[in-house]
Subunit: 434 residues, 2 copies
Amino acid sequence: MIRLFTMLQRSLFSRSALLVQTAPFENLLYSKNTHAASCIHRSLGSVTIPPPACMLRPLEAPLRYLFGPGPSNVPPRVLAAGGRPIIGHLHPEMYEIMNDIKKGIQYAFQTKNNMTIAMSGSGHTAMECAVFNTVEPGESVVVAVNGIWGERVAEIAERMGARVHRMVKAPGGYYSNEEIEQTLAKHKPVLFFLTHGESSAGLVHPVDGIGDICLRHNCLFLVDSVASLGGAPLFMDEQKIDILYTGSQKALNAPPGTAPISFNERACKKMFNRKTKPVSYLLDMTHLSNYWGCDGKTARIYHHTGPVSGFFSLRESLSILAEKGLENSWRQHKEVAEYLWKGLEDLGLKLFIKDKDLRLPCVTTISIPQGYNWRELLTYIMKHHQMEMTGGLGPSVGMVLRVGLMGYNCNKANADLALAALADALKVCPKSKA
Amino acid sequence: MIRLFTMLQRSLFSRSALLVQTAPFENLLYSKNTHAASCIHRSLGSVTIPPPACMLRPLEAPLRYLFGPGPSNVPPRVLAAGGRPIIGHLHPEMYEIMNDIKKGIQYAFQTKNNMTIAMSGSGHTAMECAVFNTVEPGESVVVAVNGIWGERVAEIAERMGARVHRMVKAPGGYYSNEEIEQTLAKHKPVLFFLTHGESSAGLVHPVDGIGDICLRHNCLFLVDSVASLGGAPLFMDEQKIDILYTGSQKALNAPPGTAPISFNERACKKMFNRKTKPVSYLLDMTHLSNYWGCDGKTARIYHHTGPVSGFFSLRESLSILAEKGLENSWRQHKEVAEYLWKGLEDLGLKLFIKDKDLRLPCVTTISIPQGYNWRELLTYIMKHHQMEMTGGLGPSVGMVLRVGLMGYNCNKANADLALAALADALKVCPKSKA
């Protein structure tokens, strides 16, 4: 053990350590006259493309307030977890960590689903995984499109050969349970997709009752909670959500690269009784459920190499949420969001979502103030306040500015910083006469 | 800026910090009698699934010598890079880091290809990306299967609707250029797959001349170098490899979760002149090339959120390789491997690959010694030496033991540790009378 410490120690100042380590080889390399060297040299071939100069410069990344729709700032605790020496992806200790992550996700999702794992990828990976595994080519899918995420799911489902029916509304629009029921009755889909936290519009969509409608129409209810999990109340089991996924880099404050997802019994029944294999081997839940020890088998067969450091970070972020408590986290996001909304209105800004109850507490959308160039405002805030806020995304581009205060970033002090930056930008940036 | 430091500082001891931060909310939560509290409480709903006890315990991960086929130990420098505060995936500074990574990969691959990026996932993601983008349903693909990786590619290609023709050999087997040419002539594939570093068998496959054969037969040459990059000479451009990918967690010593991949002009011509869209939106190179600034467009449109910390680590590991120099790295792996092979033979062990020139310097395969239970040997070494060595993988299970000394792990001191652990296991573990 001590030797391993020493091994790590040895190259703590490892630029120099490396030079020491490679010294004998360099001597060989430079003493081209010696027979040995030229032999080795010839047998190894010689490179024609030299080391790029940029790679000899150290990594540079500025400190930023990440007050956009995500990624949000990562707490030191989570950064530290991600920076720990790794272990193997198939070590027993890794399985323990994955079991912990599974329990942490079950808590965050409020579900007892056994089929609960983290994807080795971003929210989009979970999105494709959900569609690829639960839908077969030729089957009907209904997608609620009221921002970018529905558009993405529709595209994904079309590519794998599903018959996709879109329910399209402008950003900020939402769907009544009646509308949803009528559409399901008409298209008889196997899957209905809805975004809980529509971050491109700043809308949190009501979910109550939709699970029952899907159940009546023998259709799976797939919900995207990437931008809402931990920030707005969501109860997977009570609300009869069949498939739920989220991302790691929003209210969970882990780096991007992992994505919790959970399937209930109904979803498992559908996805494990397919006629065809899912088109992606990488995202095949038959293999992923085994990797995560969810398939009841004792042996875990190698499928892919999971992002060990990413799982360390994700576990830590789920641990922080468990310590804090979901209700505290929801309440914190609600209080800070209301404080931010009030401050924005005091600045004379108009909130894009009129109805308070439909506003996503994690990401607030502001109608672009009359006469201002939104890009100028954002560039000014980034340059002078080291703060990220963003414009719209997909269909909401040019309609809104977006401010996200999620998880670790979610407190009134940060809301004040965001308000001060906006006030400054509105004062300094030129207003067109138009 | 100072405020951000303070923000980070504030929760350096953030378990306590969090409690402080959430105190007001907790008071609300616990004073259920107050009207305000009960209102908020009701409106937020209450959780039925409590925080799991395991999530209130700190993350535990032992220090290990990762001397298996990967992941290998991550140098402190790379861990530190991955543990840095993150920035946004679409910030200009992130684009700079991605440009550096691109140049670092071009050097490691010895290619001038503009279409050079890192996948947001493991080597399997790169594998699926290569097949999904360059092959259309119904097209013919030839896969050299002499271990697990060919099997995986064949499965991936079959799932997306390709006509797959396997060239099957037992683990350790390899292909003559004549065999390859005959098979290509027979099946007229659009893609031929070969594994350069077959880690399940410990074989490094000769590559010279195959690119020309593929060119003559108007077929793309796809090579997997996950287990060989940086450890065995490979020249993408000179050897006319059309598509090359690798992983981050082998000789590059970054944590798993990113995968460099490069496409040459021929590959781009094929993949950007498809009749059908690739089945995966997530892996569509049309979008990924834009995200990586390889498509000549000035605007980068949001596709997915890349693993920012993973890219930090990958840049650092490519930087270490550039500082050290490819030829030094190749020479180091060759020398240390030969030292290990000698030591293994001195222990009376037989190497699985007889021909030295065909042995993968990164991962050495040992024939399982007569009369020993290979699982017992590995379990003993893990338990008493905190050292990972592994058995076979896929078709080589039960045939070999595998020892990997890659990149940061690749030095004679570590070879001695591995040899001592093996000697100890061979002495202590019971030998069956059989």
